[in-house]
Amino acid sequence: MIGIKAYGAYLPKNLLPREIIAKMWDFPVVPGTKSVASIDEDSLTMAVEAGLDCLTGIDPKTIDGLFFATTTQVYTEKDSASLIATVLDMRDNIITADFTDSLKSGTSAVCRAVDSIKANKDIKRILVIASDTRQPEPATFWEYGFSDGAAAILVAEEESLPLSIEDYYSVATNVTGPWKRTGTDKFIRTFEVKMDSQFYSNNVMRVITEIMKRNNLKPEEIDSVAYYYNDPRSHQRVAKKLKLGQGVAQNGLFFQIGDLGTAMPFALLISALKRPKDDAKVILAGVGDGADAIYMKVQDRKQVRELTKTRMGLSEHQKTMIPMKNYGMYIENKRLLEKDRYTRKSSATILWRETASIYQMYGLKCRKCGLVQYPSMFKACHQCRADNEFDKIKLKLKGKIFTFSLDHLVGGSYYNTPVPRCVIDLEEGGRILCDMTEIEKPEENVKIGMDVELTFRLMHEGAEFKNYYWKCRPPRGRI
């Protein structure tokens, strides 16, 4: 069967209480909170996190493709999927594609994954990751909604799977809003919000109604429906019109973490699968210039539960989120402030030559004395001095701080300082230097012996290029 083998998610560390926005602009209060990416995060780095979560316990070399869905591409010419696949340490003879420009690109990518697996006998597993960091225009209602996060679904063909994908149905209907013009628009624009809402309802209801009809399903037979929404009222309206039972239409996420964009339907699906029933019938739907509906069935309740237990998903991330204190922190992290940013040099050749070290965290193990070391630019062993006698070894993405400094002199500038520079002894060997991100009061909280996890982040944009590398963070519980 073709279905879902695994899923994972990522939510950034910052949680913005909506009352901070209300207070800032003297707006009516909208309740709840929303997730906000840190300044060193973008759709690509969050996709890596969600991918790592999804692939917990699964060998990345067994994955045959990666589809990346986002409306907030880091490049408009240059594939993100292939870099994400590289960082996740997948093979290079795989298929990749970026699905962009529409909020339904996540669900569309799942449909295309199903098609690819059906069409090609060598393709059995495709990882679909949806990730978004949409920029809301300050002092607009979008600001209450747009939030940041990523979610991943591993589509696979296997004899036994937690969930099967039974059918999908799509419509493509051009709508007149919202939009963002290439190059000229920093923020999303729209003509008429009420019209947007009507297009939304029409599209989402049409695909869900049709998929139920195609599969002879009555509303009362459906256990969960996870469909995109950016406003709780229109969500409720759709559920009512579709005659869905109490608790069937997944809601609550907007209140807690906001509108995750392309990642929203996946996130809603993951929260729907917290308490699975055998044979439960689940519909996943994405909307945006049309809509997709995907009909799934729980095949093995135990396997679904196991997935929830072994992955951070949404809830484990939510446990370690911390409220932002003020609007300034929010606009600084969202890069809504225009200012010069610290850059360094960039080098295409170094990034290519040291791909295993930089992106995939491979170290070296000395064949003579066994010492594990990093990075690969060093050619003789630190301990026994043997020349070029190394085997590649995958390093663990966690360890303990051996020593550190809190650096106020960041490239001669003073942004976001002090930066903790941490010397880390990784679990199972290797010593590295990493900057620490997302640490509150570093003077009090960074300590020798502290446990840390590595997280893939944007370092700087020297040479007008995105330079990514690993930083460390206080543990958020990644397994």
């Binding site: 610290y342 850059t343 360094r344 040099k345 960039s346 080098s347 170094i350 990034l351 930089i358 010492l371 594990v372 070391q373 990093y374 990075p375 630019m377 060093f378 630190h382 301990q383 051996f402 020593t403 550190f404 400094s405 809190l406 650096d407 106020h408 002199l409 960041v410 490239g411 001669g412 500038s413 002090p418 520079r421 010397v423 002894d425 060997g429 290797g430 010593r431 590295i432 230097l433 990493c434 900057d435 003077e443 020798i448 370092m459 020297g462 330079n467 990514y468 590398y469």
Partner: protein
């Protein structure tokens, strides 16, 4: 390994340093001219007697190649080499000049160093955006050394006050030195309460950005007898350099409480100079106090005291200019600042004048043996030179 060393093969017959500080009035050529011509004058020779020159320069913007010396002095096509070895660049220039003279290839050598930092602005060392790796973290110099402070606090229980005593002592010494950049005495409170640069190192734990140059004229001892300092020329007893990794944070098991380059360079230098008990045999030392923590660890690595005891010994006055072993009687980098390529030569000029009994700052009594120590990069490169009075 056969080591013949440099002991007793080279004599210093003239030396000079510029005033250190924010020398907005002079460029690198002006500074170098002031120091080198001063050294020639001290040696009583015209510049044309120089057969070859070596110059310590760290930054590309101070100057590439030997042309920095040529454009300061016009040596008319003579051999000149630029030496770059991080903060040990100046002392490595001296080391190479010694080889040139000791080999007999040249009779008179000029060893000098210069750095022009203040033309680049003053917030931390420049260039970090340009060199290094594109993505691996690049800690600032204070951050590199504060990793050793963090670890020393953890292992030996040292405190900010222990570090502060280094700054207080060195600024006390520097107050008396006319060539020092800073000539103000400070108290422990000033150091402890100063703004942080890289925790736990605050502003007074760090040496400053500064401009300066220093130069020495060297020859072989038998020739030295015919120059003006025939009665009090200074003999090179040892000159060693040790190089370890540029990135010690990738070195598994490295302890961060001792600098292997210093340990190795000093072991070689002591052997070369026949020193078996540094604490009693060395009268004064100009050591690399780029940061307060560095001086404490240097005193241990150079075996002036036991491991873990430097803070206590400093408190007890062991390292005062009139203590058991005078450490940085000039005021050190803390008082002079650190124009990188020049610092090693400045230390050697200071030792020479101390051994000749004509120190410009605080004179160490009966100084017979002096040691100079340069430590650069991420404690990667260490130069140790030992100078002695003419017998």
């Amino acid at each position: 390994m056969v080591r013949h060393g440099i002991a007793n093969k080279v004599a210093i017959i003239g030396c000079e340093m510029t005033k250190y500080g924010e020398r907005f009035d002079k460029d690198q050529y002006g500074l170098l001219s002031e120091a080198a011509l001063g050294a020639c004058k001290d040696a009583g020779i015209p510049k044309d007697d120089i057969d070859a020159a070596w110059v310590g320069v760290f930054y590309y913007f101070t100057g590439l190649s030997g042309t920095t010396v040529e454009d300061a002095l016009r040596l008319n096509g003579k051999p000149i080499t630029r030496c770059e070895n991080y903060c040990a660049s100046g002392m490595d220039a001296f080391r190479n000049a010694c080889f040139g003279v000791a080999s007999g290839a040249y009779d008179i050598g000029l060893a000098c160093g210069v750095e022009k930092l203040m033309d680049e602005g003053g917030s931390g060392l420049p260039g970090f955006k340009i060199f290094g790796h594109p993505v691996y973290p690049m800690p600032s110099a204070p951050a590199m050394f504060s990793m050793a402070a963090t670890r020393s606090f953890h292992v030996w229980g040292w405190t900010k006050e222990d570090l502060a005593r280094v700054a207080v002592k060195n600024h006390e010494n520097g107050f008396y030195h006319p060539k020092a950049h800073f000539r103000t005495k400070i108290g422990i409170e000033d150091v402890v309460k100063a703004p942080m640069i890289a925790d736990p190192l605050g502003r007074f734990d760090c040496c400053a950005m500064s401009d300066g140059a220093a130069a020495l004229i060297i020859t072989r001892p038998e020739l030295a007898e015919s120059y003006v300092h025939s009665k009090d020329y200074v003999i090179v007893k040892a000159n060693e350099i040790s190089v370890f990794t540029m990135a010690p944070w990738y070195w598994p098991g490295y302890n961060f409480i001792s600098f292997p380059a210093t340990v190795k360079a000093s072991e070689m230098a002591y052997k070369e100079a026949g020193i078996t008990n540094p604490r009693t045999q060395v009268d004064l030392a100009e050591v690399h106090d780029c940061f307060t923590i560095t001086e404490l660890l240097n005193c241990q690595d150079l075996k002036f005291c036991e491991m873990g005891k430097a803070a206590e010994e400093l408190k007890n006055g062991t390292f005062n200019y009139d203590g058991e072993i005078a450490v940085n009687p000039s005021g050190g980098l803390k008082s002079f600042g650190h124009p990188i390529g020049s610092t090693g030569c400045r230390m050697l000029v200071e030792l020479t004048k101390q051994l000749q009994g004509r120190a410009e700052g605080r004179q160490v009594k009966d100084a017979k043996i002096g040691l100079a120590h340069n430590l650069g990069g991420a404690y990667s490169v260490c130069s140790v030179s030992i100078l002695g009075k003419k017998d």
